[in-house]
Structures are given as C-alpha cells and as structure tokens.
Amino acid sequence: MAVSALTFDGVEKRFPAGGGRIVEALGGLSLAIGTGVITALLGPDGAGKTTLMRLAAGLLRPDAGKVAVFGHDTMLEPGAVAETIGYMPQRFGLYEELTVRQNLDLYADLQGLAPAVRRARFDDLLALTALGPFWSRRASALSGGMKQKLGLACALLRTPRLLLLDEPTVGVDPISRRELWAIIDRLAREGTTVLMSTAYLDEAERCHDLIVLDEGRLLGRGDPVSFRTPLAGRTFLVRDTKGEPRRLQQELAHRPGVVDAQLHGGEIRVLLADGASPGSQQGEAWDAVQPRVEDAFVALLLSRRTHWRQDTVRSGSASTGVRLSPGVLITARNLRRSFGSFEAVKGISFDVSRSEVFGLLGANGAGKTTAFRMLCGLLPPTSGELSVAGANMSHAGRAARQRIGYVSQRFALYGDLSVAQNLRFFAGAYGLRGAQLAARLRWAEEEFGLGPYRASNAGTLSVGHKQRLALACALLHEPQILFLDEPTSGVDPLVRREFWARINTLAHEGVTIMVTTHFMEEAEYCDRLVLMSQGEVLAAGTPSEVRALARVSGGPEPTMEDAFIALVAGHEQSTRRAS
C-alpha cells in the first residue's frame, strides 16, 4: 500500500483552559489522507481544526497517539517533516517590515532553496500569484488578499509534498478567493497534497475529500458525493409567489419537518427531515434541487445538537419597545471622507427606511468600514450630508448615538465579567435605571436565552453565545437602528443561521438594521443593499435587482457572488482605462 500523506493514529490533545480546567481539543482521532488530493477540514468553531493543522505541522505534541507525514513521525523526525510540508498559519506569518522580495528571500533561506534555482522559482511564484508588480512593496502595505497570496508563495517555495492551509480564505473577498483557488487547483494537478480548513462550505464542493470535525471528534468523512447522496429528495427551492421571501423563510424555518431554510438568490432553500414530505402551501412554489455539502454539514451537526432548535430564536415573542412609524431613518447625500490625500469614500448617497435590513457590501479596502464609522458617528464626514435617526451627524452625533446600537466585529465584551455584569455595565453606560433597568435586563436574558449563563464569564462563552450577548448589550437602550460590522466573519454556519434568524426577528419588530458583510450569500437577507468598490457605490437596490445587473442572456441565473465579481471587475477595468 502506498504511504499516506498524513496519518493520525489515536491522537489526543488537551489544553489547560484556566481555572484548572482541561479542554479536550482532539479526542482519539484516527484518519489517513491520500496523496495528491485536496482535502477540506470542516467543522464549527472550536471543533479542533487549528489543533489538527498544528499537530500535522509538528508544532504541537500529541498527548497520546502519533501523527506522521509521509511516514515520518512528527515528534521523532521533525526535520524530515519540516522539509516535506508547507504550512500557512491563519495569520500568514509574514514580516510586515519586510518587502515582498525580502519575505520570499527569508523563507527561501529557511527552506534551504539553492541560490541557483531561486530566481526561476521566484519568477514562477510571482507569475502564479500575480505579485510581480509589488516586488519591492512592504508586506504591511499589501491588501488582505495580496498578503494571503504572499503567505502562500512563502509556503510553496520548495514545492512541498504536503501543503497545510489553516482557514486561508477567511476575511478575503470573493475575487481574491477565486484567485487563491486557481492556485490551489494547479498545485493539486502537479501532485501536491493539500489539506485546508475552511468555514466556507461552497469551497468544500471543490475538494476531493472532506473531513468533518466536531468537538474534537470525527463526525463525517468521504468525498462530496457521499455527503450529498443521502440527502437526495430532501432539498427544495421554494419561491414565494407573494414576493416576500424573507417572511416565508422565517415561516418555513419553524415549520415541522423542515431542518433548514435559507435564503438563496431570492428564493428559499429548504432541507427536509428524513421522511418528511414537502408540504407545499398556498403562495409557495416548490422545486426539487440537488443537495449540497452545506445541507449535509448542517444536517450532521444538527443531529448532534438536539438542543439547538429550542434555544434559538422565538419569532416576535417580545417587543423591543420601538415605536413604529414609517419613513426614512438614514439619509446620506454625497458623503465623502478623505485621509490626507487619499479619498476613502468618494461621495456616496443612499436612504435607509425604518425596519429595513440594509447591507453594505464590498471587497477589502472598498471603503465600507469608513462609511460605516461615519454612519455610527465615530468618524466625521469630510463633506456631504448625513442624517441618522433625525440627527444631523456633522454636529449632533451625540444625540444620534443614543438612538443607535453598535456591535463591533470583535463583540467588545468584557471577558472577565460575567454575562449579568456585562449586561448591567452596558445598561449603566446607556443611563438605564430603576424599574426600566430591571425590565430590560430581564428582557435581555429571556429574549437571548442567556439565563443559564448569567454567572459565566463572557470570555468563556462559545462564539454563538458571545454574539447573542453582544447583541443583547447593544439593544438594551432600545435603539432605533442597530449597526453590525462584519457580524459573521469567522463564524461557523450554524451560528450564522441563528444570527440571521435573530436579525430577521428584530427587523420584524421594527428595528432598522445596518450590516456589513463579505459573505455574498448573506446579502440575500438584506431588504436592500449597496455594493461598494474603491470608495464608490457600484450598485444599489434589492438583492434581486443587484443580481439582475450581472445577468447574461442565455446564461444561468447569477448568484450574488457572480454579480459582485462581474460588477467589481467591470468597475476596476473602467477606472483603469480612465486613468
């Protein structure tokens, strides 16, 4: 039998988690990965994906069992392993002060690449990654996508037999992701074995072999077909003939027999429980479709989390107390912001109506964070008009801030305070007291299912619960508008589902939601959205209107990602021509 590229044999790994507790990251894991294939490592947050990667790279010592790379034990023959693998950690491992060339030179030295072949290899990699024009630019001045490619190039210098990529596509826009995949495909064709962990389940479709981990144990293994086949006949696309897909999605998600209901290109993708039959109701058109890996992944994880459905969102059960009145809540007119000579936002205009879910989409560096900060009153605009909840942001930012809630990417919770203490602190910061304080704290615990965790420190919560707590904190003072900055970045599909269900409920109750995201499929949850690139708005409208912009006659219905890539590529081309 041929030697496997990577074998885990009864591997256990535990970490101390503070307070004398021990967390089991991997429990008795055994698996083997064949040579020359692309294997995806899937699993929710905390499943042990990074631990597995680091064990494979020989960076961690297994507590029990052994790990071998092409037959070399990682602990007994670390030298041989290091010469066989290329490893790109989550943060790429680049030196920011060094230029592209100097980073490549350093890693070429470290990997013992002979000077004679170096030049040719560099040319090769620069052609592969299109980094040639940035040869003498410092790594700190590269965009996220370019850093990614440089990190990959550094791991590829000696053409590794096994390439380990830890979440290589997190926080990278769709265009950069496509380029990265082109590189990975080419490597695999040339015989490199690739193991990559990913949170994007559409990427799993392109891999030869899938490993699903959950809580440090192997939950599923096989090629994409073997994951999809058991779900045959259980997946449907449902069209709402009344034209309210979001409402229907929410209804379907709570219908008995439905395991999962997701918005997808203006329709709803439904996964039925085993044996359930499609109960088409009035105003719905059901079409059977092919199952995807994501369906299988969700079904697998849900079968292990029986409690998940009960403690997720109840729709419309409690009032957020917002007074409902129709009208426009946010107006931006020709909004600009410059940093020195660099114009980050170049005159954008849009309106957001009450109880809308409004999305701000864009690639890295498109100016969406700058735009977002102006909307929250954290950054004054250089010029233009901006009014938020009736307050003019150029001089009444404070007044507006009382009416908005803000959840930052990293949640901004106090990790050493308990859930109850965090809630109380934020309530105090917003000036709540007396009976109102007590009522809002009770509301937060009930609405977000935080009661059982009230005494736990926020830092010890799972990502999903942290997100709930952050949302609860931002909603305590009953804001009219909720701002969410990349709320689902690096979050697994289950938490993302729960999150969007909750956002739906909030919007239903009259809260206006403003959200940024680079998950294109999530744009479908927005009522309306703007798509930004290089500081300008490229497209605005409902998701189906934006998608329609990329429709080619005779071609298939474009997804939001297709639309994004087509629009951004077209725009970049036209600006290049103009300049």
Binding site: F15, I85, L94, Y95
Partner: protein, 370 residues
Amino acid sequence: MNRMRLSGLIRKEFLQIVRDPSAIAIAVVLPFVLLLLFGYGISLDARRVPLALVAPNSPQAQQLLGGFYRSQYFMPRRYATMSAARNALARRRVDGIVWLRSDFGRRILGRGDAGIGVFVNGVDANNATLISAYIRGVWSNWLAQEARDRGAAIAVPVEVEPRIWFNAALRSRNYLVPGLIAIIMTLIGALLTAQVVSREWERGTMEALMATPVSMGDILVSKLVPYFVLGMAGLALSVAMAEWLFSVPLRGSMLLLFTASGLYMLVALGMGLLISTVAKNQFVSATIAVVATFLPAFILSGFIFDLDSMPFPIRLMTHLVAARYFVAILQTVFGAGDVWPVVLANAAGLCIMAVFFLGLSWRLSRKRLD
C-alpha cells in the same frame, strides 16, 4: 546550525531593526537621551546652593562672609533678621542659614569662643549633609586663616585634611556616565530582545518560522547576534560621548572595557530571551523586563545608590542583580584603571550569570507551540 538559514534570519532581524521605529527608539534615541540627561542635567553634587546669611557688620564677620561669597558652592543672600531668613528657608528660597550673633566680632577677639549657628533644610537628606560639610569647610578655612594672622590666638581644633583619590574634583558625572552604560545595555539586551521575540509570537510569525526546517538554535542565535552588535554600538556611543562630550577620564584599557561589556551583554541577552520564553505577548514581556532587569539595574547596582549603605537583606539581594557586577567593573575601569582583583571577581559573577540565563533559555525553548 545551517549557514544559509542563519544568515537569512540575521539579515531579516537587521532589516526589522532598521525599519521599526520602536527598535530605533529603544536602541538609539533612549540611550542618547539618558546620556545627555545624566551627563548634563542630573548631578549629585551640590553647587550654587542658595544660602541665607544673617550677620552683624563687624569686620571679622565680613571677613568670614567673604569666604562664602568666594566659594563656588554657594549663592549667599543677606537677611537682616533671623526670622526673615527662617521664613526664606521655609519657602525654599534658600537651602541653609548661617547665623552670626551680633556680638560675633567681640567674642572672637575676646575669649575666642565665638560659635556660628548653621541651619540646613533636611528635606533632602543627601543635600543637607553635603551643604553642612561645605559650610564647615568654609568656617574652618577662615579659622585657620585667622589663627595664622593673629599668631595662634585662636584655638584651632584638630585639623583634618582629606584627600580624595581617583575623582579628585568629586564630579558625580565621572561615575554616573560609566554606570549608565550598564543601563543602556540592559535596555537593548533584555527589554528590546524580549520585545522582539514576543512580537514574533504575537504576530504569528514564530508559528510560520517553526514550520520551516530551522532549528531552535538557529532562531536563538539569530536573536543573539544582531542585538549583541546593537548593544556594543550603544557602548561605543556611550564611550564616545563620555570622552568627548563630558570629558570623563578613562583610566583603564579600552580592550578590558569592551570585553567586560561583551560579557554583560550576553547576560542581558540571556535574561531577555528567558523572559520571552515565558511571556508571549509584548505587554507582559515589557513589564517583566522593566521590573526584573531595568529597575534593579537602576536602583540595586550601585549606579546611583551606594550599595554599602543599604540594609543587609537588600544588600544580599543585590548579589542577584547582574548589573551590580558590571557597574563595579565600569566604575573601576573608568575611574581607577585596570584593577585586576576587582575586575576578575566581578567578571566571574557575570560569567556564572551568562551561562545560567543563556543555558536556561536554551533548555526552555522548544520548536513547538505547547
């Protein structure tokens, strides 16, 4: 150890030093500022002390006061009454009072038992001791002069004639500036090195390094070499400034000075590397480095505060402070010359510490994340 890997890593380290403003700040700007501060600004000598004089107008009294006016240590100011002078002392307009009674002239001519009253502000104890000694000096000079003039009509107490060796002018700069070299090398060796290693952990570059075929030895040596060079450059800067800017005499040999400093640099680097194996984030490692290396080098090394006047338990503790041995060598080589018994004893202490710290960081660093 592999030459290509090592030279690649060392080149990277130098590029980072040159391009990282915080490294430049710690390695160049801070030493420069410290040298200027200690060379020009801070002096432990009392000079031009404002002094209140309360005295009658008799010729003898005027003669004595003249001594105070001529002295470079005092800036005398006349006050008419004692209460006015006391008031000035309380407001810190003067640091001391010399009081001559209205019958001073008469008593000195008569029975010869005239005394003077001296009051010194004791808030700054060190200064107070110096001031009272200077006043006593002026007083006894005048007494001796008077005795000679009048043929020993005044009984002069036993004469003490102190001679000060090695730093005859008693300039504090002459021992502060050499001692500062120990501080600067501690900054570069321990603080900066601990910082840059923990930064590699923080930014995740250490993880990427470890997945390549480098050995832990390569990584450690690649940190030792550049910061050793940087520390010796700091030494050269200090010596140059000491010689040409502050004219601090160097009585010993340059070779001995650089050898001993190189030895101390190894100790400092050992401490820095050891800290970074324990603390993997920049904030923690900087805090540990300041508390465990920089402050002791400042306070417990004999750089500013005299070791022999410390209480016994603290004096014992100073034997654990590497800078103590180095400061002793520095002050000897600069002030007195190559006094081998002092140099060798202290160098032995440094050797033991270098082996201990470097050995321990070698043992503790493994090419793994756990």
